[in-house]
Symmetry: C2
Subunit: 239 residues, 2 copies
């Protein structure tokens, strides 16, 4: 971001508030990353306790969202920010909504993981969940990094990872139907796996949203549902 835009601030305190806000979002993001990782692990390793822990921990994600949200409202009311500062606040309000919903999906996966741990494991040891989980984690990490650095070019690149996740999800869905047809006794378990991969695919969607918010924050353009490539090109500048 163009740091000269910050020169208009009359208050060092205000800059510190914005920095604290940014840190808090990254703290929430780190927690959500660990939740996703643990949820995937509970399925892959058949760890019932871990799955339940993840579900319980979701409350912490929600608490952080409420705290950050209140802080944004407070800053808007007291500081009446404009330009780049206003865009930061608006982006944060949206990013934490997406992070909170990633947390919800991780909770769903944890609950299913806890259940799957009690039944017979498939021959492939949930390799599809492990693979998709790894892709999704990478994307969430990339989205949060692009926020931390205010790097809209990185955000535009990370956003594209969602396509690979959607393709993987489609492949797993098709494969699941084959499994069910081959052995109808597995239907219930295969459905659970489908809900898990669906949740992971949704987490990818939310990570994509985060990338769009970062582009808006850094570039001042709304790109949700738009052509992010064009925007990324138009905002290209030396840094």
């Amino acid at each position: 971001m163009d740091t000269t835009e910050f020169s208009g601030h009359t208050s060092r305190e205000f800059n510190e508030e914005l920095e604290a806000l940014r840190s808090k979002v990254l703290e929430m993001g780190g927690l959500v990353e660990r939740q996703i990782e643990g949820a995937v692990e509970s399925v892959v390793k058949g760890d019932s306790d871990l799955g339940l822990d993840i579900a319980d921990n979701d409350e912490k994600v929600n608490t952080l969202e409420v705290e950050i949200d209140s802080e944004c409202a407070r800053i808007l009311a007291l500081r009446a920010p404009t330009a780049v500062d206003l865009r930061l606040i608006l982006a944060v309000i949206k990013i934490i909504t997406d992070l909170e919903r990633m947390g919800d999906e991780a909770k769903r996966v944890g609950i299913i993981g806890s259940h799957l741990a009690s039944i017979e494991r498939p021959a492939n040891s949930y390799r599809e969940v492990k693979n998709l989980g790894a892709q999704v984690k990478l994307m969430v990490r990339g989205a949060l990094d692009s926020f931390a650095r205010g790097d809209e070019q990185a955000a535009a690149r990370v956003k594209k990872l969602d396509r690979g996740i959607d393709e993987e999800f489609d492949a797993v869905s098709r494969q699941s139907v084959t499994f069910m047809l081959e052995d109808p006794r597995t239907i219930s378990r295969v459905l659970d796996v489908m809900w898990v991969v669906r949740a992971l695919e949704r987490i990818g969607d939310h990570a994509k949203n985060v990338c769009e918010h970062v582009v808006y924050m850094s570039a001042g353009q709304i790109v949700a549902h738009g052509d992010i490539d064009a925007v990324a090109a138009s905002v290209s500048r030396p840094r």
Copy 2:
């Protein structure tokens, strides 16, 4: 809402802007309601063209979201609203995100509806989709009405409808497994129906979120993930 709080405005123009914003949200809400209705109809009546129309129309929902979002940013930058006005703007920013995602789910249902129209219909003519669709529409309508009237008591009541929708969804899921076991040739179609009811259940979740935003807007308390009943009781006052 306590209208005396509005007396602080120095500008009639500002009030008109807020009124226009509110209208625009209701316009978007009306469009989303029609999208949900059409998507459900495309499945229940086996109308492939309708399903595709719904999918195409989602672009209009997205356009409205971007317009309203820009208007909120403009008002925040130029008017620096506080108190009840700030809460309205923040609630609107969140409500349109939920409306946009309801639109995404309706699009998914429309696409599946278009596909289902080309294959053999089940004996029950997708009655489960019709029933759940009716419940979800009722809830979305209620959530939008509570926004239009700024009525946090109504919002708290409407929010409770989500429980019935979740229960219905669980019942349909269980029934679906039975159908698949009884006749594995139907697996693919039953899965499509499960994705449809899942999308409807998600629309219910988004309607619940809208209710929470209305309570925040009207009562000035963040109730997402909290006890909405307590808040509704605490803000009870004659109107």
